[in-house]
């Protein structure tokens, strides 16, 4: 099977650009796996773990929402943040989660932003806890 070229871009820089055998991405409602010759697709990403497999080695990142575009064996991951799993610090995330929980939620908009912060922090914790 041909390799897929994985390109991860964030607003600040191109975080990663490398060929790989397989990658798994968190879509908004579940995980998707992409190997070579995948059909063209545009998907909405959720918060969670991105795994990239290359020659038996695995790279793990936390991705913070965004989009994925697959075409011609090129996977473009467009996300706000892509943090290598090793760089996630459980303590900081715990405090972020606590902070998110204490946010006010007395209007639909505030509720939504509170839920989002909590989901982000929880997803980061999951990624950090898996090593």
């Amino acid at each position: 099977m041909p390799k897929v070229n994985c390109i991860v871009v964030t607003p600040e820089k191109t975080a990663l650009e490398q060929p790989c055998d397989f990658l798994a991405l968190p879509l908004f409602d579940g995980e998707i796996g992409i190997a070579g010759d995948h059909s063209p697709m545009i998907g909405r990403l959720g918060y969670g773990e991105m795994r990239i497999k290359e020659n038996g080695e695995q790279l793990r990142f936390y991705v913070d929402g965004g989009f994925v575009q697959v075409a011609d064996n090129v996977v473009a991951v467009i996300t706000n943040r892509a943090i290598p799993a090793a760089e996630l610090d459980t303590n900081t995330i715990e405090s972020q989660l606590a902070e998110a929980r204490s946010q006010p939620s007395n209007s639909p908009e505030l509720m939504e932003s509170r839920d989002r912060s909590i989901a982000q922090a929880r997803a980061q914790l999951r990624v950090a806890g898996r090593q």
């Binding site: 964030t10 607003p11 600040e12 191109t14 908004f28 909405r44 989009f67 575009q69 467009i78 908009e109």
Partner: protein, 294 residues
């Protein structure tokens, strides 16, 4: 000898100033390169988003979103002004502040309630000097603005726009065109107007897109629009940072050149003064000798 000595002293102090401006020029050059690299790195993201929007438009999807449409209600406006934290960069801050004041005047005619937000110490003090109240100020943006910081501000604007706290957002900043040209620009970011990429393929749009959309094209569009707003705002900050460094580089270069010229001029005057002093002394001696002879 008094006059010659004073001239020499002045020349020395100008030499010191020249050293400082020269150093500042070099620092600005290094910072400009860094800021420029960041701005170039950011274009990859913008290009991808544009491509995504294009593909979305080709799927025959009607591109409509509350952020894209003009509102009938025009009551509350918001003006964001991006200036620098530091001075000594020529007309950079002055230009932005002037444009901001003009825009403020214009908006005040249409909007009853106009909020003003300023980033950068220079802009804040300029507004204070003119007696204009600033609703919110930011000092954290230096030569390398972080996306997370801009993201926080952008999210706040989006929320305010959604809840009707603001009906329009204008940004005044210095746009980077080329390294030899930067223009002060006023841009309306909310409502967004149109997405880049949608207008180009308007007639070629059909339903023959090769992409599969997960969950649906409409849901992706819903997410793309706020993202492209955030990216646009981030680009404003990046452009402002790059332009600031260029402005400082140019200002310090001309200051150094000017100091060089003054030194040259002073040296000439100093040499002349010294020469005339020597001549005067010789005349006195010769005069004395002549008098003794007689």
């Amino acid at each position: 000898m008094a006059k010659a000595r004073a001239l020499d002293k002045r020349r020395k102090s100008i030499r010191n100033i020249k050293k400082i401006t020269r150093t500042m020029e070099l620092i600005a050059t290094a910072r400009f390169k860094k800021a420029m690299d960041r701005a170039t790195a950011a274009t990859a993201y913008t290009a991808r988003i544009t491509q995504l929007v294009k593909d979305l438009a080709q799927s025959g999807l009607e591109v409509s979103h509350p952020l894209l449409e003009n509102r009938d209600k025009q009551e509350r406006g918001l003006l964001l002004v991006l200036t620098a934290n530091r001075g000594l960069c020529g007309g950079y801050n002055g230009g932005v502040v002037r444009a901001a004041l003009a825009q403020q005047k214009e908006l005040q005619g249409n909007y009853e309630d106009l909020r003003l937000e300023v980033s950068g110490k220079r802009g804040i003090s300029a507004m204070k000097f003119r007696g204009i109240d600033v609703d919110q100020s930011y000092l954290q943006f230096e030569d390398q603005p972080k996306f997370d910081e801009v993201d926080a501000i952008a999210s706040r604007y989006l929320e305010a726009y959604a809840t009707g706290e603001i009906d329009r957002l204008d940004v005044v900043y210095t746009r980077f065109v080329t390294s030899a040209r930067q223009v002060v620009t006023t841009e309306t970011l909310l409502p967004l107007g149109s997405l880049t990429g949608t207008d180009e393929d308007a007639d070629g749009a059909g339903t023959d897109s090769m992409y599969e959309f997960l969950p649906s094209a409409a849901s992706i569009l819903e997410e793309v629009v706020p993202t492209s707003f955030k990216v646009k705002l981030f680009k404003c900050f990046l452009d402002a940072a790059v332009s600031e460094q260029i402005a400082r580089m140019v200002a310090m270069k001309s200051a150094t050149e000017n100091a060089q010229e003054i030194i040259k001029h002073l040296s000439m005057t100093y040499n002349r003064a010294r020469q005339s002093q020597i001549t005067g002394e010789i005349m006195e001696i010769i005069g004395g000798v002549e008098a003794l002879k007689g």
